[in-house]
Amino acid sequence: MSTETDDIQQLADQEYKWGFVTDIEVDAAPKGLSEGIVRFISAKKNEPEWLLQWRLKAYRHWLTMTEPRWPNVRYNRIDYQDMVYYSAPKQKKQLKSLTEVDPELLRTYEKLGISLQEQERLSGVAVDAVFDSVSVATTFKEKLKELGIIFCSFSDAVREHPDLVREHLGSVVPAGDNFFAALNAAVFSDGSFCYIPKGVRCPMELSTYFRINAADTGQFERTLIVAEAGSYVSYLEGCTAPMRDNNQLHAAVVELIALGDNAQIKYSTVQNWYPGDKEGKGGIYNFVTKRGKCAGKNSKISWTQVETGSAVTWKYPSVLLQGENSVGEFYSVAVVNNYQQADTGTKMIHIGKNTRSTIVSKGISAGRGQNSYRGLVDVKRGATNSRNFSQCDSLLLGDKCGAHTFPYIEVKNTSSKVEHEASTSKIGEDQIFYCKQRGLSTEDAVNLIVNGFCKEVFRELPMEFAVEAQKLLGVSLEGSVG
């Protein structure tokens, strides 16, 4: 083949740049999963009885379920008894400020480019840093408190706002929703909770960095965001993970609730977990359930995701459009390289009248990566005059990768309108040559072309995140096109 293809391959073959391991004493549960472990986790976190019962119910339900095999991905069966379900950095006392945080931890953050001090001082981004399942430090809490905004770890929320948590937990993703959601409900360790009161516009982007660290520790994060009538919040989730040999399971659950009229939630993800080595060994299994509910009239939920990591990704950020005139959006860039596999997309469930949804999915496949878009647009009988527009574009880099599309459309009334557009293209040697003739390197050419391809999604990201996403894309596709 041409040198362009070779160059592209070289770019794609770059090593994972952010693979490093932090050595921190771990306070972990023994391997395996049982009712005893569920009780251990709950006790460890001093949880109220109702939450323990909720976990146990989920666990018992999970026992009756089987792991789904329908996604278009292949991986070795997971031995659920060979995993550790809880680990937390040992903490001797409650921390009042960052100076009390383990310096080793802080160094890890710095490597990731998320120095909390800097964030606190400069960027106006409140970071609830989740490190191996336990929140270490929360910034800007005071500022948010003045507005009545609650932004804290899930554990803190259970302690300090039990009624809110109890009311909304599992209201969008029920404990027994699916195999991985049930597993999460049984053993979730921590996560983030966010509550925006009526009429409040959250003045800053709320951000949580997740990071998988202890070996063989599944990550079971749980995020719950509730927005009352007339409120607005933009939430950022981003992560990188250290290099590992064994596959690590990540089965998070995210629930968004646009509760009242005109409530708006914007949820942005940049995900860069270790994708495995060039032969496809190791890497994270990312089996995530993300769902939002637009309960209020004119409410809006928008998902934007940039997925460059994980060995296997399986996730469908979805929106239940219940309120009249409510709006659901899904903007996605999914990149697979080497032996990465992704089966991702969305579900837009139109229930209320005049509901609208937009789906823009950009899949990029390089190396031997396999990328599937799977989407459902379900317009119920009562969702009259609803509209959906879907656009699914795939870009192939090289000739050993694959792109697949599985769109499902169900419309049960005659006044709604659904549009679906799809395209598949190969990054052209012509395009690369044109860029090179103007003085750009192959790497820059590929970055440029791929970023152009993803533009419609990137412009939905908050500014600083968009820059990060572009860089990430560069890193993931360096040597792989993209």
């Binding site: 041409s2 040198t3 362009e4 052209g428 040697e429 012509d430 395009q431 040559f433 044109y434 860029c435 090179k436 003739q437 103007r438 003085g439 750009l440 390197s441 192959t442 820059d444 440029l448 072309i449 970023n451 152009g452 391809f453 993803c454 533009k455 419609e456």
Partner: protein
Amino acid sequence: MLEIRNLHASINGTEILKGINLKVNAGEVHAIMGPNGSGKSTLAQVLAGRDAYEVTQGEVLYEGKNLFDLDPEERAREGLFLAFQYPVEIPGVNNTYFLKAALNAIRKHQGQEELDAIDFLKIVKEKMKLMEIDESLLNRSVNEGFSGGEKKRNEIFHMAVLQPKFAILDETDSGLDIDALRVVADGVNKLRRKDNAVLVVTHYQRLLNYIVPDFVHVLIEGRIVKSGGKDLALQLEEKGYDWVKDEVDNQPVQA
């Protein structure tokens, strides 16, 4: 500036260029004319470094360097520019952004400071006027949805911004109406300097009414069979390429 010596090149085993010799000095404009399939565009692509073509014999010296030692992007950074016959669309990539990246890659290579957005825009505005380019072309994606004429104008606009030492215009006149042709030619003429050179590849003589060449070369079946001054183009227009072919066929050996 550029010296081509006995250049042979082929694609998929078929020889297209069969021994080209050509010398271009700074300040000169050369025109390569020839019928379809004579190898004009191949010559342009080979000089720019398109790897689909295999150079089987000969060499090209550019500013004293062996051109074939340089990757396409290195040639570009050394001041070699190709205005494409079929400019490529790059969806989602802003034309101005693209040009800025290109110019800075070139400047960096040449040891100049990279330009920030403000300084770059100054240059763009100035060249835009010079080239009579509509501002909307700047804000659109590179060549995406451009008409044929807009694409060609955009190529010359790129050339104006990047200020190459050696520019190759590959059939820049094809697909242009007479007004667009004039604008493009004016643009090229405004860019002519003592220290740069232009190679105009064209099928028709009409472009050469506007860009007056110092030398005209006739390329037939992979060889330059006749060279002359600007009048040669007029003769070709009048008598057609068959006239040159006949003349060549009647000669015993072509040097």
